[in-house]
Symmetry: C2
Subunit: 322 residues, 2 copies
């Protein structure tokens, strides 16, 4: 009996691979540059197959050891057809029916999901969402993605277009969002938005701008740098995290009212800021909720780190076995 | 074989009853004053039983003709226990385990649901939501309630506290909501909020205030009066509907991004305003959505009129048969 399931998280820069055992432990990891797969559909498929076989061989494994392959991909996917639909960050992959093709080449079940949907499933089954029935997952990356596990099932909506939780409006008259809307959560709590807000704060000489500029020393004021600055006591950096956290808290209050979830999990690279982000988010959400919702608020950080989407995809593939 | 299912919609003022046949047609209607049932639990139960038996008898029907009894109630209900939990408008009903009690007295299955959840189910099965898989339903009454049918199932969240779709924040810095939050949809699109906004517009002498005041002739500037005034060409009344509709549109855009529903149905008394409300809501939502979501936007009015919740409750009872 094959015991291992492969999970791939296909992003614009990297493809992250995990091999999951039956107990849900990550036994092996690999990482490839997405660009190294080439640009034509034929090349991508052939090189991806080679990469997977190479990774298996280096660990003394063969095709027959695979119980399934799960694929997570940023963008819009057709889970039922196993096809990438719209992937803005690496458009030459668009239209690839990766699922059926890998199923044939490796003679095993495959599953395809949007990366944050897969992440939500991974966290729900093995991470910070374990034991819940209704889970809302927000992934604060460059933008803000979402995943919903409702009544113990992944909810993706019509044509898989749902759970775009970063495009909840938190302020109708607020900041422009790249999606064309105004005041979306993503325009406050995504890495791109946080960086923009920091640049603006420096340019507009907000209180503390000199100290922060000195600390940054010309570096991009992205979440990682702002995290370090805030932990070192920088006032403006703390204020910027407070603003991002407050906007997150407004969204959290709305999500509690809409879903009455058992828990809300915050994932994505921006979540590394931890309490810098979560403390103001909790305070804002609690101020906006009535009891018992305010008291029961369960907002916490991801548990699977950067593996979440790959692990979730592997689980989806394993569970798709007939 | 019993052919008829009773649906009751228990509100603070009236109890609306419908008798539904197997084809889903409303065969009979009745209406009782909620206050006429008395205040003590014993009195309420006895009088409600009498009222139901009386209504059956007047139509030549007996207990054995009932295939089930469905109950819809404003407020928080425990569907699993058939018990009213929190009913702010008629608190002396709180704690009543109406479901089990009616099941015993009439020897038939019963089901209990929050009124807007029941309404969403009714519209989904027999009304404006027919043929969809994912339906979002907003009921614009005094406040704003919600109901969700996701993947063909009623979603109610933890302890039935979910689908409070009127408490989505549309403007973080906006109007105070009776729930304690700020900027909720309910604070813009519920009847109470629309009336308040109209009073404020008159008091602050907004352009057109003289004409509207003259038209109202001292009457309360509620949705019905504003509807008549706007249809008669009143400029301020139209502006007020436009503002309510725009806020609704912001929420609709968020709900499209969150759920990717097949359709959004607008119900409740305020929905009688029809296009006065829906035209600005559609325009605002479309401006905030990208294609294909903007093009596909399917926002429409309820089809079951004021019967929706009672019909939905009857259907839930009928479907709960083993």
């Amino acid at each position: 009996m094959p015991q291992l399931t492969l999970g791939l998280d296909i992003g614009g820069t990297n493809i992250k691979a995990v091999l999951l055992d039956e107990a849900g432990r990550v036994r092996h990891r690999a990482r490839w540059k997405t660009a190294a797969m080439g640009a034509g559909h034929g090349a991508i498929l052939a090189r991806l197959e080679d990469a997977i076989r190479g990774a298996l061989a280096r660990r003394g494994l063969a095709d027959r050891d695979l119980a399934g392959i799960g694929l997570a991909c940023a963008g819009l996917v057709r889970a039922d057809a196993g096809r990438l639909e719209r992937v803005p960050n690496f458009p030459h992959w668009e239209g690839l029916a990766l699922g059926p093709w890998l199923a044939e080449r490796f003679a095993c079940p495959t599953a395809l999901a949007n990366d944050v949907n897969a992440l939500a499933w991974g966290e729900w089954r093995l991470g910070a969402g374990r034991g819940t029935r209704h889970l809302v997952c927000l992934a604060l990356g460059t933008g803000v993605g979402g995943g919903l596990v409702l009544d113990g099932r992944l909810y993706t909506g019509r044509d898989g277009l749902g759970a775009e939780l970063g495009h909840l409006v938190v302020d109708a008259r607020g900041r422009r969002c790249p999606c064309g809307n105004r005041g979306c959560l993503e325009a406050y709590a995504g890495a791109r938005a946080i960086t923009l807000a920091a640049r603006r704060a420096l340019a507009r000489r907000r209180p503390g701008h000199r100290a922060l500029a000195a600390r940054l020393g010309g570096a991009e004021p992205g979440p990682a740098a702002l995290d370090r600055a805030a932990r070192a006591g920088d006032r403006l950096a703390r204020a910027l995290w407070d603003e991002a956290g407050r906007a997150l808290g407004v969204a959290v209050a709305s999500y509690v009212n809409i879903f009455a979830p058992d828990r809300i999990v915050i994932a994505g690279g921006v979540s590394r800021a931890g309490r810098l982000l979560l403390d103001p988010a909790r305070a804002e959400a609690r101020a906006r909720l009535m009891d018992p919702a305010a008291q029961r608020l369960d907002l916490r950080l991801r548990a699977l780190g950067d593996d979440g989407a790959a692990v979730g995809a592997a689980l989806l593939a394993r569970e798709s076995r007939p």
